[in-house]
Amino acid sequence: MIALLLVLASSPLDPLWSLVDEERYQAAIEGALRIATDANATIELRQNALTLGLTAACSGNAERCDQVARTVSDWMPLWRPDSRALPSLVQAFGRARVTRAERYNSLPKGQLSQGQWCGPSATSSILLVETVRGVQAQDRVKESCIQLNKTEQGFLIAYDAQLQPIAALGSLSAPVTLLKQKQVNQRPLSLALTIAGITLAGVAAYLLLSDPGTGNLELTVENRP
């Protein structure tokens, strides 16, 4: 039935949005993930399908909000939900972002060789997030290896066919050096890295120690004509 709707609709996502409107969230999620994992679909369509799936997963009493949020966070690491989105969506996506570096640390590092990086054998696609002068750019390939060309610093992640990360090198907040620079430049860079690391650790420790925690508010608004 869903396949028939997909064929008849002007956009493959239209019937899925209808499912969301009808509060048939599980069906919407399954349809969205089916499009998102279709390697022949355009990147834009796959990403739109993922955000649709996330909206469905975080609507009503849907139980897969965190799971889909992790998938979206992994597949589209530079994407962030609009602050006006569903609060449960924003919170789940925040949790996915916060735990992302930890999850990546437990993954294999892939194989970095001269001018290219390769994921494990199950790799379906690779994303390179290149950092140049503070600006991040993405390069996605449907291969198990990616050419690094002149990329000096970046973050690499390999996905299987189900969009799950299976290898990662570095993270968004801590891109790794992909091409070695001249030896003469290593010492000041190492010194700067050390100083920056100590500074970041100090700031992180301060923020953690000074965190006052959070509470809730039961608000009753009365309309008195």
């Binding site: 949005w17 969301v20 409107d21 955000t51 909206t55 530079l78 994407w79 962030r80 939900p81 609009d82 602050s83 006006r84 989105a85 609060p87 919170q91 950092t131 002068r133 503070g134 600006v135 991040q136 610093q153 907040s173 891109p175 620079q181 430049n185 000041p188 860079l189 700067a192 890295l193 920056a196 006052p212 925690g213 959070t214 509470g215 809730n216 508010l217 039961e218 608000l219 009753t220 608004v221 009365e222 309309n223 008195r224 004509p225």
Partner: protein
């Protein structure tokens, strides 16, 4: 030196929000009956509340259709509010993009892992 400058620029980008967008489909009643916004601000005094209220500056905010029950009440729950002693809570009714009425309470205390209770009364709403 060049690498040091590049690295510093890269570090300065940490924490900056990358671009992104999401399409929101609001239910029709949100548009026709107006929107009831509840917002908790880090601090502030109701006597000097700006008009319109700048909801984007709130620590936590929540929006519901501006519908009220038989007792003319609308309960809302705001979660994950940073604890503090001088929070300001504001309720605003927005219709067709205009804030038509509001209510406010200041010096609200939010304690860690606790639930505070606040009652706001909207008066003169159309």
């Amino acid at each position: 030196m060049k690498q040091l400058v590049l690295f510093t620029l890269a570090l300065s980008a940490c924490g900056q929000a990358p671009g992104g967008s999401i399409t929101l489909n609001f239910p029709a009643d949100l548009i026709t009956n107006g929107i009831l916004h509840a917002a908790v601000f880090e601090s502030g005094q109701c006597a000097t509340l700006s008009d319109p209220v700048v909801l984007a500056e709130a620590l936590v905010r929540l929006s519901h259709p501006a519908n009220f029950d038989a007792r003319n009440e609308h309960p809302m729950t705001l979660n994950a509010i940073p604890a503090g002693g001088d929070r300001m809570v504001v309720a605003v009714v927005e219709q067709e993009g205009t804030q038509v009425c509001r209510a406010c309470s200041d010096d609200v205390v939010i304690k860690d892992n606790n639930t505070s209770t606040v009652r706001l009364i909207l008066e003169g709403c159309p």
